[in-house]
């Protein structure tokens, strides 16, 4: 297989597999957050802050994969 074809495949696999984990992770975080808020509506503010923070951390991992695939495609 020639180099360009392999490169395109690598780009697809990098972001495809890389988005798998964070996607599941963010879903779990959101679900737990909703559950926690329903149990204790008064703590909503604190739960919200932690949720946004945790989602940003999880998304950052997906962004690392995206950066790798962008570098592969454009450099």
């Amino acid at each position: 297989m020639d180099k360009e074809a392999l490169r395109l495949i690598a780009v697809g696999i990098a972001i495809g597999l890389g988005a798998l984990g964070p996607g599941i992770g963010i879903g779990i975080i959101g679900g737990k957050a909703a559950e926690a808020m329903s149990r204790n509506p008064e703590a909503s503010g604190k739960i919200q802050t932690i949720t946004i923070l945790a989602i940003a951390f999880a998304e950052a991992v997906a962004i690392y994969a995206l950066v790798i695939s962008l570098i592969l495609k454009f450099l």
């Binding site: 802050t49 946004i52 923070l53 940003a56 998304e59 950052a60 962004i63 690392y64 995206l66 950066v67 962008l70 570098i71 454009f74 450099l75």
Partner: protein, 252 residues
């Protein structure tokens, strides 16, 4: 005119000109414009200052107070909040403005051609500063180094070393080493999170507008506005939390 490529995507910011030995890139230009905008905003508020704020002064005061209240909640002490608030607020405002400036029409599309024939390339005049890895690495370095300096100021030099080298038990020693590695990882994580989000957003907008230029890009631009706000918030909030962790004394 030479061969015009349909989409211009470049991970590195393009150099516009040199000042002496230093290159000036299009993202640096946008950084300067952002600084200029802030200076103009603050000067215009300070000139006609009202005790009861109206208009722009009201908006600025609201934003600052909102953040200040949040910082006060995180640190219980007033003195610490006053100390760390400027860094957190500046990071938030700068990253927010620079993210949103990258969405304006003309940024990334207005430019000139350089080179001849085969090497003809398009150089945009403006580029969102946070889509340049240099800017985000600089911000991450500032944030992490200032966190260490604040930690030294509040815990003393021995306390600061004690965060990383714990000699009480082998397990704690390992935890200390992990802390050290995690500080370096924070620099990488901060810079790549912001860069990846904003640059990927730019590429996404470019591709969508290239495919269907009418009506369809609207929700994507709305998404990018939202992402710009969230990333600015995340950068400053994480800086805040890391400062809080770095300046709390160890409980025994």
């Amino acid at each position: 005119m030479g061969i015009m490529k349909p989409m211009h995507v470049s991970i590195a910011a393009e150099k516009l000109f040199n000042i002496g030995p230093l290159p000036v890139t299009n993202s640096l230009l946008v950084t300067w414009i952002a600084i200029l905008l802030f200076v103009i905003l603050i000067i215009s508020i300070r000139i006609k200052r009202n005790i009861i704020p109206v208009g722009i002064q009201n908006v600025v005061e609201y934003v600052l107070e909102f953040f200040y209240r949040m910082v006060c909640e995180v640190f219980e002490s007033e003195e610490k909040s006053r100390r760390f608030f400027p860094l957190v607020m500046t990071i938030f405002l700068f990253v927010l403005l620079v993210n949103w400036l990258g969405l304006l029409p003309g940024v990334g599309s207005i430019g000139f051609y350089r080179g001849e024939g085969e090497h003809l390339e398009f150089i945009p005049l403006f580029r969102g500063a946070s889509a340049d890895l240099n800017t985000t690495i600089a911000l991450a370095l500032i944030s992490v180094f200032l966190t260490q300096i604040f930690s030294i100021q509040h815990l003393g030099f021995k306390g600061f070393i004690g965060r990383f080298i714990k000699l009480k038990s082998p397990l704690l020693f390992f935890v200390g080493i992990l802390e050290l590695i995690s500080e370096v990882a924070k620099i990488i994580s901060f810079s790549f999170r912001l860069f990846g989000n904003i640059f990927a957003g730019e590429v996404l907008l470019l591709v969508i507008i290239f495919l269907i230029p009418f009506v369809v890009p609207i929700p994507f631009i709305a998404l990018e506005i939202f992402v710009g706000l969230i990333q600015a918030l995340i950068f400053s909030l994480l800086t805040l939390f890391f400062i809080k962790i770095a300046t709390t004394e160890e409980e025994h």
